[in-house]
Amino acid sequence: MSNTTPSPVGDIVALEGVTKRFPGIVANDSIDLSIRPGEVHVLLGENGAGKSTLIGMLSGLQQPDEGRILVDGKPTPITSPRQALALGIGTVFQHMMLVPTLTVAENLLLGGPWWQRPRTEELEARVAEISKSLGIVVKLHARVSELSLGEQQQVEIVRAMVRNSRLLILDESTSMLTPQGIEELGALMRRLVEQGLAIVFITHKLKEAAAFGDRISVLKLGRKVGEIPPERFRALGEQEIISEIVELMFGKRKDDPEAAERPLGSVRAEAAPLLQVADLEVAATENAPGLSAISFDIRPGEILGIAGIDGNGQKQLAEALAGQRAATGGSVRLAGAAIETLSVSERSRLGLRYLTDDRLGEGTVGTFPVSINFFLKQVGAAPFWRNGVEQRTEIDRRAGELVREYDVRTPSLKTPVARLSGGNIQKVLLARELAEGAKVVIFNKPTYGLDLANTLASRQRIGDAAQRGLAVLLISTDLEELLSICNRIAVMANGSLVGTVANAEDARTRVGRLMIGLAA
């Protein structure tokens, strides 16, 4: 890798074969990385690719299990945030790290020796100097809670500068900014690297990577799958870079076990659609994009995939269909009957099921036993409850059947569901939602965070459901997953569907092009 070849500019920080494991997953798998002054090094990857873990290790919050971190060429363990700061590594975390009840100045002063009086005058002079050189305005005496997210982020960047950081890490910094705020951040990063700083910029948005980066490393499932060095970066045009990244991120490798092609279920073209969605609209809220003019049909036995970068309205679509989010317009028909005004439970009773991606938060009650979680949506209904009293034997009998049928690995039916692994919680959800009466099932990122075996098993279940004649809407950010089981794939961007392609030979390129904003 790059750190084996000596370069004119030395690395400020380099990672060598860094591995970090958490129970059940390998978050980072022998990662090499070189971070140099005057460069914006983009770390690109989907959720769960291991970006945040990498940042945690650089900022002293976590320690690697294997491999080493070199600072200025010397192996240096970073054991605490304090030490990271002392080494000149400043981090702007995805979640703001400012105390909302203190002023900007007080936040910048945090971390000084406790016996000292805060050196306000010194700080003011320093901040004036920094903000002038960066061309930004910092309201030192405003309370942090009064600032916009963009302003708070600038404060965090200024804080890193005040502490003489040589390396600035920006973790998903654009995720909460407006398009204009993103442009400003890009310009600010450029000015910072011109001053000789090194920047590590973490994002899952391809366009930002291409627009702001000098060097791009692509992470996938904890491994670094490729790097585009600055020389190549300069030689390529933006579109070429993007297509190269798409190749790295979504490209198929020969040894990829996920690539096993599944025979697609046949869909009878003459069958009437089970789910018809026409011009569905949802108003945007402060922290979620809206939906506009969403229309599609799904026939019995068909799997329609929704591809797209996370956060483009996929969750809103799923919730609007399930009835958890109010639609502001359009119609939803289930087997011909309009359901857009029905409640969540009425839709569920008619056969519309939704498997949330938030398995523990929204999908299950973690402290309840596995058995009860199977019937959460039927609480109070016969035969599991009679006259308001739980029918323990009936629940356990049926739960036992489901555990066997869906191969849920649980110590007992009474085990609190939160104690199971992600894969087994997903099986509980699958069993619950695919139970009697399901006609249309919406899966939102069904394999997110699961290991390979459980991922394949879940896909098998989804395929089987379609084979049984159910209509399936599969929302996923994993293109491989969509290509392996969908009949058609629609691409979502900014709350609308930008195109739908049949899952044929050229689907991969056509979907990829749609995802980055080109016509298929």
Partner: protein, 311 residues
């Protein structure tokens, strides 16, 4: 009824109010510090009792009130150390540990006192007041406010010292950050556990001093359960004062007046059942909670143990 308005009665009432207010003030200031740093310190009643008992024992055997205050502080801090270990370092539930400490210390101090003194309740000699010249000569006000033990003036000075600490010092910033957003403090390079430990130990010291004052100056003796909820009133004061030490002072004086009325009315020979009068401070608590409690904003991370990297 004329006795109610006489100079003697009023100054006795106010003098008693100040005496009763000082333990509440110290407890309130201590609790305020813990809460600012994000630790809900329900064990403060136990810390006060430890301070009262050890403070009394120290003063009784040494014959020096000041040495008694010192042992009282040490007693409060010893209990606080347990709290800091269990709740700050190990991260156990602050409410459960707090209650356990209070109940445990109630039993322990009563038991120790019984071993030592059996059923007798020896008294300490009356404390020597520090009379502030000229001010003490003002009618009513003078004898009420300016003829107290030196520690009273120091406690009031402490209010302003705390105000300075919170507003103007680095430690004050650190404490507030530890309570409002501990993760931000951590990434700023300051140890959250250490900061909170300092806060809890300070709480113990203040509560211990408050307890020692209660036994040595207020009552002149130790009886089991002598604090009688003073620590809990301190918690209420800290919550109502929302981080402002001066408010703790005013609140403590208000409660002090209510407590003092109990004795003063008996002195004045007014025939109201004492049970009714003894309810006054708690009635005042309820009224104040209704009036101001709604706006009380507590630190965001209050009661939540800090764990690095946990979301």
């Amino acid at each position: 009824m004329t006795g109610l308005l006489s100079e003697v009665f009023l100054s006795a009432l106010l003098f008693g109010a100040v005496t009763a207010a000082i333990p509440l003030l110290l407890a309130g200031l201590g609790e305020q510090m813990s809460e600012k740093a994000g630790v809900l310190n329900i064990g403060i009643e136990g810390m006060m009792l430890a301070g009262a008992y050890l403070g009394f024992v120290g003063a009784f055997y040494s014959g020096s009130l000041w040495l008694g205050f010192l042992t009282g502080v040490a007693g409060g801090m010893a209990v606080a150390l347990v709290m800091a270990l269990l709740c700050v370092r190990i991260g156990l539930n602050q409410i459960v540990i707090g209650i356990a400490l209070t109940l445990g210390l109630e039993g322990l101090t009563a038991l120790l006192h019984h071993f030592q003194f059996s059923r007798s309740y020896p008294r300490l000699p009356a404390p020597n007041p520090t009379v502030i010249p000229t001010l003490a000569d003002i009618p009513v006000i003078g004898p009420a406010f300016f003829k107290h033990h030196l520690i009273v003036y120091l406690a009031v000075a402490l209010v302003f010292a705390m105000r300075y600490l919170y507003r103007r010092t680095q430690l004050g910033l650190n404490l507030q950050a530890a309570g409002d957003k501990p993760a931000a403090l951590d990434v700023a390079g300051i140890d959250v556990v250490k900061t909170r430990t300092i806060a809890v130990l300070s709480t113990g010291a203040l509560a211990g001093l408050g307890g020692a004052y209660l036994a040595n100056v207020g009552a002149g003796l130790f009886i089991p359960f002598i604090t009688n909820g003073a620590g809990f009133l301190g918690i209420v004061l800290a919550m109502l004062a929302r981080g402002r030490p001066v408010w703790v002072l005013f609140g403590a004086l208000l409660f002090g007046v209510c407590l003092s009325l109990t004795t003063a009315m008996q002195v004045a020979g007014i025939n109201i059942p004492t049970d009714v009068i003894q309810m006054l401070p708690f009635l005042a608590v309820m009224i104040m909670l209704v009036l101001f409690g709604r706006r009380a904003s507590l630190p965001a991370a209050l009661g939540i143990p800090y764990e690095r990297g946990a979301r």
